[in-house]
């Protein structure tokens, strides 16, 4: 009955969603979470890349909440973004998705930094 997406099993299946301005790893990150143009859902090594359009970008209200649902439903366990509002944070937390804010540069750079920080900890 539990429909909780459980993508965080092993390191190989862990998915990371990065808020992005475009569909490639070399696109600049979109600092906004809820209203970013798209999410790149990737493996930490950046080998598998799944660009997902963000239909919430133009939503009048509740964009952060819906974007959080979108990434949670895709089995994402970590979100890399610039800023994330309180409603989106609450929704991601309820879904068991962790969030790293303050990211910037290209999607690739953000992933590399995340991997480096992760490896050293």
């Amino acid at each position: 009955m539990a429909r909780t997406p459980d993508g965080a099993g092993g390191k190989n299946t862990m998915k990371i969603a990065v808020s992005s301005t475009g569909p490639s790893l070399d696109a600049a990150m979109d600092e906004r979470f809820g209203r970013c143009s798209c999410f790149l859902i990737v493996s930490p090594e950046g080998t598998e890349v799944d660009p997902v359009n963000n239909p919430c970008a133009t939503q009048g209200h509740g964009a952060g909440i819906q974007a959080a649902r979108l990434v949670a439903e895709r089995g994402v366990s970590v979100v890399l973004t610039g800023r994330c509002g309180p409603n989106a944070s609450d929704t991601l937390a309820a879904a068991g998705v962790s969030v790293v804010t303050g990211c910037g540069g290209t999607v690739r750079e953000a992933l590399e930094k995340y991997s480096a920080d992760h490896a050293s900890s």
Binding site: H61, G62, I65, A68, R69, D90, T91, A94
Partner: protein
């Protein structure tokens, strides 16, 4: 007679027109109710300075989910247009500030796991000054849902010979809620490109509501010709022009009213009142 005072653009002089009109109508011994429906920042009291008689809270019903009963079926999240109730993981999140209190989630819940609890969002205040019944709503800090507060304010307003509804700026839901039920709307504008642009939007909005409107040009001068032309093209009459005058701006900055400051302005507002009386 219930008159809405709206504008489109902010800062054109809605409250100046509404409060001065209320003051001259009371001077002419009409029973007057002034409703400050700009519940985000009601400022009619700065000028009318009413003696406060009562205050009461406004509450809105928001859902509460009994997770002992809920089986996370997701129906409530499906029906909510505003993401105010979100079943996710093993929880149902409620975002009260996004809730429009429609009650849909409670109705669709197959297990009756949802009840509604009142949430305080604003305070209504009533008072009196010089023959004017003053009423206002004021949203609590951080609240955004003004239409239900405006509705609550209108619901407690007494009847009078002249009810003046001071609307919020803009052309969206709060304005629509404020002017709904008015017999006529005065659109207050200023002779600037922004004033003109938003006046046209306001004309469209009020027109869609099927309410007749006239225009008041505030801070009028030689540059008012584009506004006059727009009114001519739209077949909308100009009810009054209030000249741009430094002494009025100075009085305003002290929280004083134009009709108390300048006999010429008093005459202009009396003429506007006569015109309004002619509508009924």
């Amino acid at each position: 007679m219930r008159i809405g005072i709206a504008s489109g653009k902010g800062g054109t002089g809605k409250t100046t027109v509404a409060t001065n009109l209320a003051r001259v109508a009371a001077m002419e011994h009409l029973s007057v109710v002034y409703l400050d429906c700009d519940v985000e920042e009601p400022n009619g009291q700065i000028f009318l300075r009413p003696e406060v008689k009562w205050r009461r809270p406004v509450t809105l019903p928001v859902p509460r989910v009994d997770l002992e009963v809920c089986d996370l079926c997701g129906e409530c999240g499906e029906i909510c247009e505003f993401s105010a109730i979100v079943p996710i993981g093993k929880k149902v999140l409620v975002f009260p500030q996004l809730c429009h209190s429609c009650g849909g989630c409670r109705l669709v819940c197959p297990l009756q796991a949802i009840t509604e609890i009142p949430r305080e969002v604003a305070t209504l205040m009533g008072g009196e000054v010089g023959g004017v019944e003053y009423l206002q709503g004021l949203l609590n800090i951080g609240e955004a849902m003004s239409p239900p507060v405006i509705r609550a304010l209108k619901a407690v307003a007494p009847q009078a010979e002249l009810v003046i509804v001071d609307a919020p700026p803009g052309t969206s839901c709060p304005v629509v809620e404020a002017v709904r039920g008015c017999d006529r709307v005065l659109l207050v504008t200023e002779p600037t490109p922004f004033g003109l642009h938003d006046l046209e939007l306001a004309m469209d909005t009020i027109g869609k509501l099927g309410i007749g409107c006239e225009v008041v040009i505030n801070r009028a001068g030689a540059n008012g010709e584009a506004t006059r032309e727009l009114c001519r093209n739209r077949g909308i009459e100009i009810a009054a022009e209030l000249p741009d005058r430094r002494s009025i701006a100075e009085a305003y900055s002290r929280g004083e009213m134009a009709v108390d400051t300048d006999p010429d302005f008093c005459d202009r507002f009396l003429a506007l009142l006569r015109r309004i009386e002619g509508w009924s």
